[in-house]
Point group: D2
Chain length 383, copies 4
Amino acid sequence: MDLVDCYQKVRARTEWICSPLQTEDYVVQPVEDVSPPKWHLGHTTWFFETFILKPYFAAYQEFDPNYNYVFNSYYETVGNRVIRTDRGNLSRPTVIDIYSYRKYVDDAMYHFLRGELPAEIEELMQLGFNHEEQHQELLFTDIKYILGHNPLFPAYKKDHEAPHVHEHTSSAFINMDEGIYEIGFEGEGFSFDNELNRHKVYLNAYQISPALVTNGEYLEFINAGGYQDFRHWHAEGWAWVNTHKVEAPMYWYLIDGNWHHYTLNGLEPLDLKAPVNHISYFEAYAYADWKQCRLPTEFEWEAASAKFNWGSRWEWTESSYLPYPGFAKAPGAIGEYNGKFMVNQKVLRGASEVTSPGHSRATYRNFFQTHLRWQYTGIRLAK
Amino acid sequence: MDLVDCYQKVRARTEWICSPLQTEDYVVQPVEDVSPPKWHLGHTTWFFETFILKPYFAAYQEFDPNYNYVFNSYYETVGNRVIRTDRGNLSRPTVIDIYSYRKYVDDAMYHFLRGELPAEIEELMQLGFNHEEQHQELLFTDIKYILGHNPLFPAYKKDHEAPHVHEHTSSAFINMDEGIYEIGFEGEGFSFDNELNRHKVYLNAYQISPALVTNGEYLEFINAGGYQDFRHWHAEGWAWVNTHKVEAPMYWYLIDGNWHHYTLNGLEPLDLKAPVNHISYFEAYAYADWKQCRLPTEFEWEAASAKFNWGSRWEWTESSYLPYPGFAKAPGAIGEYNGKFMVNQKVLRGASEVTSPGHSRATYRNFFQTHLRWQYTGIRLAK
Amino acid sequence: MDLVDCYQKVRARTEWICSPLQTEDYVVQPVEDVSPPKWHLGHTTWFFETFILKPYFAAYQEFDPNYNYVFNSYYETVGNRVIRTDRGNLSRPTVIDIYSYRKYVDDAMYHFLRGELPAEIEELMQLGFNHEEQHQELLFTDIKYILGHNPLFPAYKKDHEAPHVHEHTSSAFINMDEGIYEIGFEGEGFSFDNELNRHKVYLNAYQISPALVTNGEYLEFINAGGYQDFRHWHAEGWAWVNTHKVEAPMYWYLIDGNWHHYTLNGLEPLDLKAPVNHISYFEAYAYADWKQCRLPTEFEWEAASAKFNWGSRWEWTESSYLPYPGFAKAPGAIGEYNGKFMVNQKVLRGASEVTSPGHSRATYRNFFQTHLRWQYTGIRLAK
Amino acid sequence: MDLVDCYQKVRARTEWICSPLQTEDYVVQPVEDVSPPKWHLGHTTWFFETFILKPYFAAYQEFDPNYNYVFNSYYETVGNRVIRTDRGNLSRPTVIDIYSYRKYVDDAMYHFLRGELPAEIEELMQLGFNHEEQHQELLFTDIKYILGHNPLFPAYKKDHEAPHVHEHTSSAFINMDEGIYEIGFEGEGFSFDNELNRHKVYLNAYQISPALVTNGEYLEFINAGGYQDFRHWHAEGWAWVNTHKVEAPMYWYLIDGNWHHYTLNGLEPLDLKAPVNHISYFEAYAYADWKQCRLPTEFEWEAASAKFNWGSRWEWTESSYLPYPGFAKAPGAIGEYNGKFMVNQKVLRGASEVTSPGHSRATYRNFFQTHLRWQYTGIRLAK
């Protein structure tokens, strides 16, 4: 792997994603879970500064000691962090300041990477690339939230095109046999610590759909009163629906009797054939219950994943986000990456149309809280 | 099974538990999760009235139609329910009224049970007995909360004696082999729907402790600064510790430099040899992490359960509360019993010293949210 | 004044008010502003123990040192206080305990009062009598809240009779001349510190109604859409109406299309001729605005008070609760009585049908926050 | 008055205030009470568009119908308003868009003002000028909040100079006689409706300080434990101090044992001789109580105002914000300007160093809630 080349490509793609933005779009944080784009730009830079340049590049001069405080994430071992809800209150550093910061760190990184490298660097760089790719996806989801909740509904790009995933339309479920399956990552290449270790899982016989649930199918659930019938919901999901008066997926707007949805191209009539998007786990569960089906576990998903196309939506599974047998946290701040979130979250499998190219794997474990909807999330049924 | 005899015993035990109470103790609800004892007395009665007498006993005259509203629980299909937080605001019906209600329903039940019984009654009665036994345990935990949070620290009984469980003191972990294990209930006798179906699970080799963690061992964690070191905690657990300024298990009080704990006998010096009690999942996890161990999964627990004594504490497992393969909800209100809680909760296994006699099984799945501590909860380590 | 006789009468009346209660009614606290009746019984006793017996009666032995903590009110100088919201969680001391406490303190008081008394005692006793009378009124309002928010709507007494106030029914406003008026208490007898000092106020000419607004008149405001028209409301009042979905006075219930109200006699058809009751300042203001009138200031009220009957409702005034010129706090805990509440509250003048006999004066200044409704509050118009 | 000339000057000054800002500074809203500068720019423009151009200039074409929704304030009669807390989430319209909006409306206004004008226009224009001047002051306070709560503490301008007010340093109080005083606005020129009508007030003899309390004097209160002694505080103020852990005025920072304060020039050592700034009413009251003085009423302030210099700080008074005798709301949206806020707020008198030139009067009534501190607020003592 050519680290310089990879580094250059990853860093450039992040800035390419931001290129259609106005300066003001970089700044705001409408809800706690959405970060301002300029924070993503700074935070991914801070990662290389903190975990590569400072410990390994003796000649490196820190760009600005305050930035450590501003662009830190949840890494408690590295220092105080800005409370997440406060990120949207910081007008400084400006967008120009942050691009200067990126340039400064990039220059130092090129200088560093062309020198003699310690053995562990490649692994750390891989982590940095994958970390930045995760934030590339968050840039898409967060930009969509910022623009899609503005009363002017500005488009991100008028001609934005999502990568094409060939969606199955068959309604015939795939039959999977009872037995022992091997689950988890093994082999060459990068994986996150939460995909390890590869281990055996016993599965009962099950069936899984090759196709994702579409907007049209989900609309039937709405029209059948699915949001008003507690029997399909968890008690906690039912409370969520009623507290927040949820009546449709995020970004759906009923205008003069016709359903629209906000996309990166702006506000458009609802595409009935596209896979349903931006739903919570609670909604995915309720839909499946209404269809007298269920969501697959993450193990069922992985075991069958070679038999269907995936990649347009993150797919909610019935599995909670828990450590695999033998899971061990890495020492130091890097070790905080995954393990500390392994409670009260659900696993999502697959990838979405805004996942960075090359970032997805059949063993990849994404995870979110059960009420969140700003991700590109969809439904695959099992029974 | 003699239904009349069983009914009489279950109903009498509930009232025996309440017999040391003052009238005022029956009324209050200090926090949302704790119900007033008089509500438990009424709700368990409402269960038999609603699911047995009304549908099956034609001669039955409802005691008071308002009671359905007051003593309903979470059964959304049966009618409006009193918001749980409001239970502690209701001074009426009085305790005497509720004992009259119990007597009225009991008399009708005896009348009914001595007649010709439809086939499904035995199963419903079994559910009613087990339901009331669950509330017997809640009576103990809720009474403890009510008295243990009163600044006068009144004893429940001065001479209350807990059932004796012979606790292991060995520190040698039990070795368990890798392989397929059968998990879940099968056979004669009662079980809840969440214990079904019995199914195969593949487990890696593991070790599990025969002994529960003691107060003395837990105190070492406190003294080592365990509550101040974020590295041992989930992110959500760390936020919980800091928001609520948690520094010790519930009911522990540091008085003039000496640790005490409130028990049903009143405030006493901390018993260092007793199993630690009233801790949240977050604390159980952090303690295990600090000991460089982990909590067992519910499958590991069940597979090894014949090799150690259990029953003094509900034991937190690493498993989330999820449906077993093939789990199906019963139709109607009864079906709301378990399935609707299968999200964002952890499984506890075993039983506690306040669990009703005969109510426990190795396949029993109890469940609570990760921050709750008013149950008799403890820690068994695995690795 | 015969202190023993007065003491006996005041103390007996408090217990007479509680005599129709069930034990359970003494215990609950449905909202923060409402205290459990048993707390009032204990707190008024604590007042005499703390401010008379302990400092002045050398032979006195404290009943129970914990009671100081439990029955303290807002007197910060005397020690830690129970957070007000927690009062309803305390099942102990029991009602019987508290009556024992009353008896114990009363016995000591009689012993003390029959001895040689220091000069300042009479003034302190007067304060204690008036303090207990205030709590007698709070007992009525709090009991009404507890029973009137119970789904069974139990009556306090089936034959409870309110003291009769002859209400004016004339619609002709009283004309008052421009000029200097003297406001505030002067002369013999008891007054609170907030009624001092008597001072001059200049008033423009004004008109004031001899009659209180009736339920029937207020119903016209409701039927005219008054609760839906922001123009009549303060911005803060409008937010309050919408947040709490307020549509009528407290205790009004629309049952099968007919308005009812809960009274101490139970649920009854709305009495259209009775003065409107249990409204917030926000509602009083909005009603007056809708009638193209306004509320009187407390000075206008006092200056005209000899010209109309008053005493069935506490009357909201436009005046904020502020110190009179020359107001000085008494030293020590007694000084906390009034001054610390002189911000963000409105003055109410008059008295209500549940005010203790002999407790009212034309200079009396009651005060509440603008959103509160559990008092017997009404409306007198001015222009 | 030359309306074109006045209009040009007012509009230009608003933009001059914003000229040192970075684009990002225009966007954020750190707390509900602080609006993003770009909102102020849009809202003041919306005022002229809505109240002048649309009703009076037939040729006018609305710039963008969405802007009415985005830039509306609290004027309920003109349409739906953006919830205030949401203003900081709107990245669009951009700063450039809003400057285009200003230019578009300004061009139309010049066109309109050069034509034949209806009689009421001058009064409306005066209101528009004064409204925009109020927002000029808010721009200063809000910009200060945005920059002064950024961890980088950027200066607004390195060489910002506040207008000079000659501060009195004498400690001798001014004696004012008992008697009738005339209060309120009368005569030529602009005033807000809340300053009317001029009316008689009777004042007892009082004394008022010619000097404002300085930072040095306030520091003595802090060092004497003023923030830890409940006796000086209202009950509500004491709760505020403890809930928010308040220990000093806003913008004070204790760095290495030395007090600093953030000013528009950046972070500087505390200026002990400057008048104390950015304190809540609760703090002003507590300080006065500690000094065994009190705050003046707004009537005392106005009656004595010719005898001292004022204008560097808005001065908290003891008076609540209430209507003057004969106060009447204007009809329509303009009438919502002041009356709807006349509850639970305190009157501030004078002006501050960031008040627009020519905007202040001795009869001017500013008003804020008792806990707010982002204004330039100070203390003048009375007794």
